[in-house]
């Protein structure tokens, strides 16, 4: 039901019609903004504060023995709504047996950062708690190929910084 609006409900007086006082009030409001604290973040020099729960670049974690947690089960590939993950699973060769907790591992593990929508479904799907999204958000590069991150780029370095605490 529409509310009836009468046209001459409020007839403005001359003083109201010349709008001087509202304009001065408006000018006061804008003037306060002139001296207000600026909200700009000078990006490359000054970085914004990112929440630790931010969903950015992925990391493939290692377990406490330094072994790759990923067992190449392809659950994340299946869960990925953007089809950004590509995995080729294989049997662990005998000489590398100590680097993996099981005999199956991901031989190829690519994530296309241009396809990824950073939804975090891979994190949720992973039965081994191997993949996590980190607060790292700077992906700039000069070709599409370079933005397909391979396993080496994604896996945590042995003894390197802990990228994500689970």
């Amino acid at each position: 039901m529409a509310i009836e609006v009468s046209k001459n409900k409020w007839k403005m007086t001359f003083g109201e019609r010349i709008y001087i006082i509202p304009i001065l009030h408006g000018m006061w409001v804008t003037l306060t903004h002139l001296f207000a604290k600026k909200v700009t973040i000078q990006y490359p020099e000054e970085k914004p504060v990112i929440s630790p729960r931010w969903r950015g670049r992925h990391v493939l974690k290692r377990n406490e023995k330094g072994q790759e947690r990923c067992v190449g089960c392809q659950m994340c590939e299946l869960a990925c709504p953007a089809d950004a993950i590509y995995i080729e699973a294989a049997e662990v060769p005998p000489e590398k047996r100590h680097e993996h907790p099981t005999e199956r591992y991901a031989k190829v593990y690519n994530i296309d950062m241009l396809r990824c929508i950073f939804c975090g479904m891979c994190e949720e799907a992973c039965p081994e708690a191997a993949i996590f999204l980190t607060p790292y958000y700077e992906f700039v590069d000069d070709s599409r190929e370079k933005l397909v991150y391979n396993k080496e780029m994604l896996t945590e370095k042995v003894g390197g910084p802990i990228l994500y605490k689970d």
Binding site: M27, L31, H33, T40
Partner: protein
Amino acid sequence: MHTELWSLIIEKTIFGVILLAAIMTGAAYVTLAERKVASWFQDRIGPNRAGPLGLLQPLADGIKFFLKEDMIPKNVHKAFYLLAPGIAAIPPLLIAASIPWGNQIELLGKAIKLQMIDLNVGILFIFAFASIGVYGVMLGGWASNNKYSLMGGLRSSSQMISYELAQGTAVVGVLLLAGTLSLDEIVKQQDSLTKWYVWRQPIGFFIFFVASLAELARVPFDLPEAENELVGGYHTEYSSMKFGLFQVSEYIHLIVTSALISTLYFGGWQIPFVDIASNSSFIYGVLGVISLLLKTVFFIFVFMWLRWTLPRFRYDQLMSLGWKFLLEAAFVWIVITAILVLAFPWYKTWF
């Protein structure tokens, strides 16, 4: 006689070159100021990458304008299309030439007037050239062969004609008090703070200010280039330096109008409590110029301030404000001023 003429020519040439350079640089820096002030009003920082505090930004913009591809669309009226930016840019410069930027200064044993042309019909000259400036905008809009440009050109021509009337009428109050059309004389009469014409002509000043805002086609009267209705208005089809010329002319016009307001109502190059009219030493002359420039900068700032405060008028509102309110108010104000001048002699002498 002969040497006098030559020295006059040399003096005016040098002064003219300096004035032209100053006005052009000023216009370039007003574009920077526009962006900076806009940013500050929006809680941003604004351009700060080119040079310290972004001070080289106008230079970068200028280089960019020159290096951009100079495109001429296929179906434009070529002659008018090329002519329009020039016609738009020259009148504001001529107005700048007739504004007294300072009192005379003593240099090399010669009194040099800091005004290019001291006309006894200064104000009429300014209004004449201000209206010629509209031709540039109109021609640009029409010659572009683009409906948005044409709309912008039409809007600006009708808007400027409407508001020129109010502007010209409002200034009559000052002329009645001053008894002269020469800007130099008008400034010389405002030789103390109380004698600034704004105190005796508050309504006249208000009308003149609002009409100037419309003349400059700035917010809230920026309908000729209302970008969300008309793309870019009359300069939609212009690129590279031709667009730059329109832009520069707009900002020169802004500077000149602010200087004109200061000259007519705020004592021009006079400084309150300092008598610089009777002293033609170098220092006093320079102080006078600085005084006028400060007033000009203040009004430029006010124009920018209003831009970030007020929303744009609707076109019919703009027209009805111009024709049904400002013009009548200006006429009434002339009558009131005339009565005051005739009935109360102290109104003319004032303190």
